[in-house]
């Protein structure tokens, strides 16, 4: 049997397949369809200190082999998460990771500190790359100083594995990754969505309520693979790769580019059982190619 275990700092994954924040709810939404404990890790919805209503409808547009979304971090706040969601997920035998968002280093830190106290949450993913909120969000992710300021504030109060999720809407993503690394990030994940727009030409207005949204899905895969490879060669901490993964072959491509683990996002909408297919497909591929461990292929390109 191929060894699928991977480790991201203190985080032990039974396999490298995770689900991307905002695309898999709290996992519970998929439990009829997927054995949750067989997923490496489930990254839950973007969570903020205070509750957020998110943006108005329409929040979604289909595009060529992809989609734009501007959900805007709708969530009931970290307190609600701790009190109402956490009890439902804490005994499911996989890693639940909270995707933490905010509008200032302080409230990122406040939210992270709250999650630090939850025994069964071994890691957080700091979302400094959400293109769909005005306050904060991507603003921190597009400069080295902004990224550093959030990571620094959170690192002071957060003691478990700290993953920082990078925005692809930048000139030099490797610089941002290095800035996060120097402030003590344990890993980086990339990419979040590419900022895009679609226009309803009949109504002469943007299709999304807040004009722009984030592009995800197979359309962005080549950009994501390039960025993962760039960051892999720039930092020493592990890289988590995502962006358009639909198949086991896509996942292997990301791992060869330098990802120690991968996240599946939009593909869950097309095939809610895709995580299991990717996991099985990776196992088969690795076996067929005589690999003993999935770790052998990380960063070979």
């Amino acid at each position: 049997m191929v060894d699928l275990n991977v480790r991201i700092n203190q985080l032990q994954l039974s396999n490298p397949v995770m689900t991307a924040s905002g695309t898999f709810g709290y996992g519970l939404e998929f439990q009829d369809l997927v054995p949750l404990e067989e997923i490496g890790a489930i990254i839950v919805k973007g969570t903020t200190q205070a509750p957020r209503q998110g943006n108005d409808y329409p929040r979604m547009v289909e595009t060529a082999q992809g989609m734009l979304n501007c959900v805007g971090l709708q969530n009931k706040g970290v307190d609600y998460f701790c009190e109402h969601i956490y009890p439902q997920i804490k005994d499911i035998n996989t890693n639940f990771i909270v995707n933490v968002s905010g509008s200032s280093p302080d409230n990122y830190a406040a939210c992270a500190a709250r999650v630090d106290a939850l025994d069964h949450i071994p890691a957080i993913e700091l979302n400094i790359s959400c293109p769909n909120v005005k306050d904060g969000g991507m603003a921190f992710g597009v400069t080295c100083e902004g990224a550093a300021s959030v990571v620094r504030a959170v690192r002071q109060v957060y003691h478990k594995t700290l993953i920082v999720k990078l925005s692809p809407n930048v000139t030099h993503i490797a610089d941002i990754a290095r800035a996060c690394e120097s402030e003590g990030a344990d890993a980086v994940s990339l990419i979040n969505t590419l900022m895009g727009m679609a226009i309803d030409i009949e109504r002469r207005r943007p299709k999304l309520s807040i004009r722009t949204g984030g592009l995800s899905g197979p359309a962005v895969k080549p950009v994501a693979v390039r960025m993962v490879n760039e960051v892999f060669h720039a930092v020493k901490i592990p890289v988590i790769g995502l962006g358009g993964i639909m198949t086991a072959e896509d996942a292997i491509e990301f791992m060869m580019a330098g990802a120690s683990a991968i996240e599946i996002g939009t593909a869950n909408f097309v095939d809610p059982t895709v995580t299991m297919k990717v996991k099985q497909g990776m196992t088969d591929w690795l076996e067929r190619h005589g690999c003993k461990s999935v770790r052998e292929i990380v960063g070979v390109v």
Binding site: G22, T23, F24, G25, E29, F30, D32, L33, K45, Q53, G54, D56, Y57, P58, R59, M60, V61, E62, T63, A64, Q65, G66, M67, N69, V71, Q74, G217, P218, T266, N268, F269, V270, D271, P272, T273
Partner: protein, 256 residues
Amino acid sequence: MKKYCLDLRVSAVERLSVKHVLLKLTQEAPLPAMQPGQFVEVRVDHSPSTFLRRPISIHYVDVAHNELWLLVATIGDGTRQLGRLQPGDEVSCLLPLGNGFSMPPKASNRVLLVGGGVGIAPLLYQGEALRKAGHNPVFLLGGRTASDLLELDLYKEVGEVYVTTEDGSLGEKGFVTNHSVLEGGQFDLIQTCGPKPMMLSVARYANEHAIECEASLENMMACGLGACLCCVEKTDEGNLCVCKEGPVFNIKRLLW
């Protein structure tokens, strides 16, 4: 209700009009339980411009033949490709999704089912459920022209059917909300599905006459599972996912 992702086989394809097709889907094993008003997220193969699944209402479940019926209006590439399916083809269906229509609390209630366009789809199955539960469903179905009004015999087997067309080619001329049955009729519950402007005026009528009313919304969807939060509608409880908390809502909850 437990959700499934099934590869169903097309057992029949009936072209009901130039832009409507009736798909009958089946599998070896018995189909899972489904409720009227719930829907299916259908995967569309062979369409380069269709990336996400397409939500389609459960039109009817023929338990005797183990068949799920979908009534599809072919308006874009995705639905057109569904219209090109052939018997024997496989279709990936995620189902049953959302919450269906409710059953009236009291016995022998008179329920008005108002459908417009392809919004008539979920009403057939709901009509049958009502009838079986001892209620008296009345259909009020509207279309632009006679050829939009499909399968009227099937609806007539289940309840009284009243019809409007905008061009007057069948039934009363005008919109459903102008139909004379609304003047006399004493209804205990209205359930409606169709274009938003129609549902809004049905809701206005229901409010004016203090009749309970449920509307089935058709917001654009990605996951269909309540996971992506793309399909939200503003309600008295904030933004709710139409795919999970709906698609059927009591109109009292809607801020539309």
